[in-house]
């Protein structure tokens, strides 16, 4: 089997829509992908703050498991998980660090397996015609602001795309029929790590992202990151208060928009579970002439 699927914790919790829609899209595309058995926490957002070794050993175990289970690549939907697992993969290239990690996890690391974000797999591994063949409801006229956040593109050693102006998701959206807008906030911080410690500053940053998406003329924001989404979606009300204006920007995962374009039911994709109402905008899209 090619891809070992690593769902991570968010996709069953705060990012349930991401989990549901990713599942549905993967199944719909009949991809060569299966969940890694016995996966564990990737260590994101806490481990690397206090123990560098733990922060790479935790994700390294997932790489080792995937390899044992015969996968060649690890597909990671969550941006934070991707960042950690990729970091472990990069660290394992250093023989000294690898030995250290192997000792901790009591598993062997060959260094052959690679971690990839689900986004880049969807964009690079599924060819145009295969994708086009699945599209039932093209996202005609939908102006999307592609928001990548920081975790997929920084630092350079683990980045899946250019850090200043990534285009991977923009290309995917174009292929789905949507119109990505040119805007300057693709990788600005969503304020994620400040939501609990400094909520006032955090929400200011969330608000800036939403403000510039709106100014760029977007109807909605699309992301590959559960943390960004919970900030932009859940805290949009607070952000609106801060900005003193209403925004009403639905925040989608790219898999939700893929699933919608494929004609999958909204409920299956979790589109009914958003804080900012997300179904109406999609329903208002022009229905293509049947043919």
């Amino acid at each position: 089997m090619r891809y070992g699927y690593y769902p991570g914790c968010s996709l069953t919790g705060t990012g349930i829509e991401y989990g549901l829609s990713a599942d549905a899209v993967i199944r719909h595309l009949n991809m060569d992908m299966k969940e890694i058995r016995d996966w564990n926490c990737c260590g994101a957002s806490s481990a690397h703050n206090h123990d560098p070794l733990l922060s790479i050993a935790l994700p390294a175990r997932n790489l080792a498991l995937a390899e044992q289970q015969g996968f060649r690549e690890v597909a990671v939907p969550c941006a934070a998980c991707y960042q950690r697992i990729k970091a472990a993969e990069v660290a394992a290239r250093d023989p000294l660090k690898r030995r250290e990690m192997e000792e901790v996890i009591e598993e062997e690391l060959s260094g052959a397996i690679v971690a990839r974000s689900l986004l880049e797999i969807m964009v690079h591994d599924i060819d145009d015609s295969a994708l086009a063949a699945q599209i039932r409801r093209p996202l005609q006229g939908l102006k999307v602001a592609c928001y990548y956040g920081c975790l997929l593109v920084k630092p350079r050693a683990i980045a899946m795309d250019e850090a200043e102006n990534p285009m991977t998701m923009d290309h995917l959206m174009e292929r789905l029929g949507a119109t990505p807008v040119e805007w300057g906030y693709k990788t600005e911080c969503c304020g994620g790590s400040l939501t609990l410690t400094r909520p006032d500053t955090g929400v200011q940053m969330t608000a800036e992202v939403l403000k510039y998406a709106k100014l760029a003329g977007a109807d909605c924001v699309v992301t590959p990151c559960p943390l960004c989404t919970s900030n932009l979606d859940m805290r949009q009300g607070t952000a609106e208060k801060k900005l003193g204006r209403s925004l009403g920007l639905p925040i989608y995962y790219f898999t939700e928009l893929m699933g919608f374009a494929f004609g999958l039911p909204m409920k299956t994709l979790g589109l009914d579970r958003h804080f900012v109402e997300a179904t109406g905008l999609l329903q208002s899209l022009p229905v293509p002439a049947s043919g």
Binding site: E162, A163, E164, N165, E182, W183, G184, Y185, Y212, L215, A216
Partner: protein, 660 residues
Amino acid sequence: MKRIGVFVCHCGSNIAHTVDCKQVADEAAAMPGVVHAQEYKYMCSEPGQVLIQEAVKEHNLDGYVVTACSPRMHETTFRKCAGRCGLNPYMVEQVNIREHCSWVHADKEAGTEKAIDLMRMGVAKVLKNEPLKAATIPMTKRALVIGAGIAGIQAALDIADNGFPVTLLDREHSIGGRMAQIDKTFPTLDCSACILTPKMVEVAQHPNVELMTYAEVESVGGFIGSFDVTIRKKARYVDTKRCTGCGACIQKCPSKVPSEFEMEMGPRKSIYVPFPQAVPNKPVIDAPHCRYLQTGKCGICKKICPTDAIRFDDQDEVVTERFGTIVVATGYQQFDISAYEEYGGGRIPDVITGMHLERLLNASGPTSGKIKRPSDGKEPKNIVFIKCVGSRDEAKNRPYCSKTCCMYVAKQATLLKEKLPASKSYIFYMDVRTGGKNYEEFYRRTQVDYDGHYIRGRVSKIFQVGDRLIVRGDDSLLGRPVEIEADLVVLAAGMDPQHDARELARTLGIAYDAHGWYTEAHPKLKPVETQTGGIFLAGACQGPKDIPDSVAQGSAAAVKASALLTKTELTGEPMIAQCNEAMCSGCGLCVTICPYKAITRQPKQERIHGKMRERMVSTINSGLCQGCGACTVACPSSAMNMGGFSDEQIMAEVDALCQR
């Protein structure tokens, strides 16, 4: 055995004070091969030299050793002295018993002992010396200047004024280079064209100058005195002899192409001159954009040309010409801002470079000197300059300072304020570097009299919102973030070497640094020479430079080139590599190690067992070899040796030193 003389110099008391010179002479006299040993107070003086010459004659010496000061001081003196009495100058060795002995060792006994060792070393060496003769190289009295920007023009003019023929070559079809694109020059604000065009005309009309535009150097063979340069003269599709430059064809040409000269902000035609004052002022056809050459339909230029000068069947012409010396003045290109994604990577129309602004400021530019921003033609009010874009940035592999940006930004901010009094320029800088005559004063005026708002800090991001540009950076003096809503952003793009600078350097056999700037022979003392004899550097191809520096270097290179051209032949260095062809296996290791490309593998015909056979052997070009000896060590079969520092000589020295 050779008959050797030893002359021990006292250097007044400089040597004699701590070295027993008599003992040295006595020890020398006892050495095998030494037929005469003598001491004297000042060997380098006229009587001292006469004494040597008389001894050479009297004792019929084959060579001699002078134990005296450093050979770096007087080796030439004693070699010339030998030459004057009929001895080959290279049969002389000088041994250093002053700087390396008497002056550094107070103990007379130890000093004398060391002096005797050194004398023995010299005698052992001179016994192995062979007469050497310097080869002479003919000098072709003609110079080539590659690149006709201001540095190349200056170099060509100076060489021509010195009375030598010079060919001025440029790959563009007009001379003038970057300076022709610039509006006004700092710190005097005189118009660039007003000072450049007279020089362009002067060089074109000079009887000693041949212009060769729209031509590129393909290969360079030979060496100092006789460089054989193969030049590709690109097809112009216009017969320059017939063309009068009336411009009728340009007017009528139906196809429009973005003009490179105008930084693609204005159109040109497919048959065109890059700018009105071009020299030569005769158009060429841009074949990839010409309707007739691409589709066979059109040909309006041919129909309209009153002198029938259009030649659609024109072909590239390749010529090989011989030059005695070459001046390289290929200049720079502006840094490509697409590397700065945070500044829009070149995608935002109103984020332009310094050279774009030069064209917008210029009265003959695409906007006739009106400041209109590219996106919508509006007059900008808030203008942000960002310095050090592609300079002093290790992340972009440009750690060097481009030297000109601080001043051109100050100039542009001044000019903008003059043209748009209501505008405001914000200038983000890292440091302001204004070394140069009247430069600092100019910068102060920009700040004080022209309202240039200097902000120390870097810009982290530029993005568009509606028709405005949000520029975000920090003010590191106030320690706070800054956000400016701008109408136009000018990136002070730095200087890059020409994209093909490395290729040309390899063609010429000159060195370049990690970035592609050409390397001078010595950073302080040989600023226009290269490691390759006969090739000189001028202008920004050697490193970022402004106009005055380029002109000065152009003149300096011209002086160096002219000095060579005054000679009819050059005397080579006799202490160079020698190849024993009988021992050479033709492996070519010496070819790769030679820093001067002086060694080539060449076929050698030999009669072996009655049959003619051919094998490869190394051949040394005496014009290029500088005598470093690298090849001698690389050679696995000891076929490579070196005159004056042969394996035998050095081995004999080592033996003599250790044999006590």
